[in-house]
Amino acid sequence: AQSVTQLDSHVSVSEGTPVLLRCNYSSSYSPSLFWYVQHPNKGLQLLLKYTSAATLVKGINGFEAEFKKSETSFHLTKPSAHMSDAAEYFCVVSDQTDSWGKFQFGAGTQVVVTP
């Protein structure tokens, strides 16, 4: 079975400083991994995805994530936070085990950006 753990429920950063959101996953097969962002009172938007190609994945708005199989991690980073990055972020895993068609969501990380 697949599962995903977001290690921080809340991250606070200053504008212009790096952002690191940590995600660990468990999967019996080669997983697909995703990061989504949800701004207040909005739907979820895809930031980036890993689907067994390059391990370093670049996404929108300057975000990137690195797939590390040995550490079962898919951490999200951005070199310089912007006020507009304040939102909820979700790490998601999907594979082909008994959860066919199912995307497993992490509990989310709330990002606060201070001026």
């Binding site: 739907g43 895809l46 969501f105």
Partner: protein, 115 residues
């Protein structure tokens, strides 16, 4: 053009009433989902349909009944609404590519408030 649309955006109703939420996607995807997001932002999968066939049916009260008239539509009907049903409901769609799923696209959400 909106990729995944939901109606209504807001729904306020009394306990015991019956209500429906509609979802439509114009992306040509073959799989659609319903999620419930609680006040702590946790996303829980409820149902999923692939080509009008139910493939995921999580532990959800049988007061909730999904219906997929065609691949582009997935509706959610809720009978005898309870206070605990208050949440934001998201519709999503995805496409099966080989043996894995591509990313999900989400609708804007329907905020249901039961009084």
């Amino acid at each position: 053009d909106t990729a995944v649309s939901q109606t209504p955006k807001y729904l306020v109703t009394q306990m015991g009433n019956d209500k429906s939420i509609k979802c439509e996607q114009n992306l040509g995807h073959d799989t659609m989902y319903w999620y419930k997001q609680d006040s702590k932002k946790f996303l829980k999968i409820m149902f999923s349909y692939n080509n009008k066939e139910l493939i995921i049916n999580e532990t959800v009260p049988n007061r909730f009944s999904p219906k997929s008239p065609d691949k582009a539509h997935l509706n959610l009907h809720i009978n005898s609404l309870e206070l605990g049903d208050s949440a934001v409901y998201f519709c999503a769609s995805s496409r099966l590519s080989g043996i894995s799923y591509n990313e999900q696209f989400f609708g804007p959400g329907t905020r249901l408030t039961v009084l």
